[in-house]
Symmetry: C2
Subunit: 310 residues, 2 copies
């Protein structure tokens, strides 16, 4: 099975390594020069749970240098790079290429539809985590699982067989009708913790230590829930609230600074347009006021602009 | 004329010095030990426009150590200390004591009414600035003016005579029916610049450099204006917006960090409850939704809490 990873960052390279090690024909494409060069020269160095598992010579190219036909394309970019990556790899998307997208945030199916037939789009949400320890170095911990669903459910048998094959490599994917709900539940959590931690300048435990944190949480989640319901998603706000509270414990995620906080600090653009920004956009479509998500999105963009992030 | 300054901080000590120098019988009360001790021992050291104007032995006490009768009491505390200061000096407020309050922010008249008859309350708004260069040291620049109005306009002649007398010392006070409007216009500006600069972590010029700053500004001012109108104040939003834009120039206020930003950075509690917090409180009374001021107020309080400010 030929599998392309469009984006071989933290999560892409982790899944890619797992499939490669299990004998699949894996190709990476990425635009980060040092990353592509290091993997090509030395192989992908894999460190999992602090154990060095060796170097893996997975073919790695710039997107424009790849041709041919792939059975599966994993999109594993940052949210804001989804469209430009699809532009770069669209010549590789054929009639029967399945495109798997498990990016964080909301609104990706609309973008994917501009490039891929709905029966070939697999949208998902994962709790796998991963990281890079520099260009060419995968550094990850623990394990995870992924919920996935085909946007238009034609030929589902084929898809289920594909998932079975991916799971032989340990990807732990689960075809689920609750996938959209799970995507929204994860996005809802990120709409709250990513933004407030960045603007208040605190970690997740500190956010939870303020006595009125639930008022802050609900100011955003009330909007997420209303917009989600208008979109036909069975968003259960009480579950998101519970998930958020479960992150406060310093023994779990409490001492972490969310990814958006880290992007902001490190001079990168953030994924805000795929979180609160998408709630604002959808709110306008459904005529649902989203004043809090509107102002939070503007503040994050203002902070990016003031910091000169790009 | 016996004048008490309840709070001899930056602005209090500046006005107090002006009146003392002009021969008025001025007393300071303050709770900051080093400040009281330094003024008592060495006099208030006055530096204006970088010129050392000498030391002035203005009698300075802790509030509880003062007794007697004053013609005028200037309240010159931080907004959140207004009530506790009034508690401490209420034995000095007599039937014919005028109480002048020119604190920043909103809601002070309601607090004053609990201690002072309305005909004796003079509420105002000033563009004088001032600072302290350490305990016992006044360090100020330029000049200013103050608009003032009596809450209940009995015996206005007496008040106008009082203002004339204060102006002999250069206080540049102007009795004006537009005072409430001016208070709201100043508060509206502070509701925007104080909060956003603190949460985005930027100076005023940087705030103005974001291309959508007007969207951020209006997210708050729309609420301020609606609530102000419900309170019977002729708030002119376009004037506040113009005043805000006038602060962006680095040659004027652009490079400044607003007072709330500085309080936050320096571990102090902020005046948020007398700015956006008061808009939220009044909004509830008038049944006007104020989601942006609500969430901004919560975020500022969360940041105070996370920082351990007090």
């Amino acid at each position: 099975m030929r599998v392309l990873f469009a984006g071989a960052g933290a999560l892409g390279s982790r899944f890619g390594y797992m499939l490669f090690k299990n004998g699949e024909d894996v190709t990476f494409v990425d635009s980060w020069k040092e990353h592509v060069e290091n993997i090509t020269k030395n192989g992908l160095k894999v460190i999992i749970d602090d154990k060095d598992l060796g170097n893996y010579y997975i073919p790695t190219y710039y997107p424009e240098d790849v041709s041919g036909k792939y059975d599966v394309i994993f999109i594993a970019t940052k949210s804001m790079q989804l469209r430009s990556m699809l532009e770069k790899v669209k010549h590789l998307i054929h009639e029967d290429t399945k495109v798997i997208c498990i990016l964080n945030g909301l609104g990706h199916v609309d973008t994917l539809k501009d490039f891929v037939e709905e029966k070939n789009i697999l949208i998902g949400v994962t709790v796998w985590t991963s990281g890079l320890g520099g260009p060419g170095v995968l550094k990850a911990y623990g394990s995870g699982k992924t919920e996935i669903k085909q946007v238009k459910e034609d030929n589902l048998d084929e898809t289920l067989k594909l998932i079975e094959r991916l799971n032989q490599a340990g990807l732990n994917m689960n075809y689920s009708d609750n996938t959209y709900q799970s995507i929204w539940h994860k996005a809802g959590l990120n709409c709250v913790l990513n933004t407030y931690c960045t603007l208040i300048d605190c970690n997740i435990n500190q956010y939870g230590s303020y006595e009125k944190h639930l008022d802050l949480t609900r100011a955003i989640l009330n909007e997420v829930t209303a917009v989600g319901h208008a979109e036909g998603i069975d968003v259960k706000q009480e579950i998101i609230e519970k998930n958020i509270e479960n992150c406060f414990d310093p023994k779990t995620a409490g001492l972490h600074y969310p990814s958006l906080y880290q992007d902001m600090k490190n001079g990168r653009l953030t994924e805000i347009d795929y979180l609160n920004g998408e709630i604002s956009r959808l709110g306008k479509i459904h005529n649902i006021p989203t004043p809090v998500c509107d102002v939070i999105t503007l503040m994050i963009h203002s902070k990016e602009s003031v910091n000169g992030n790009k």
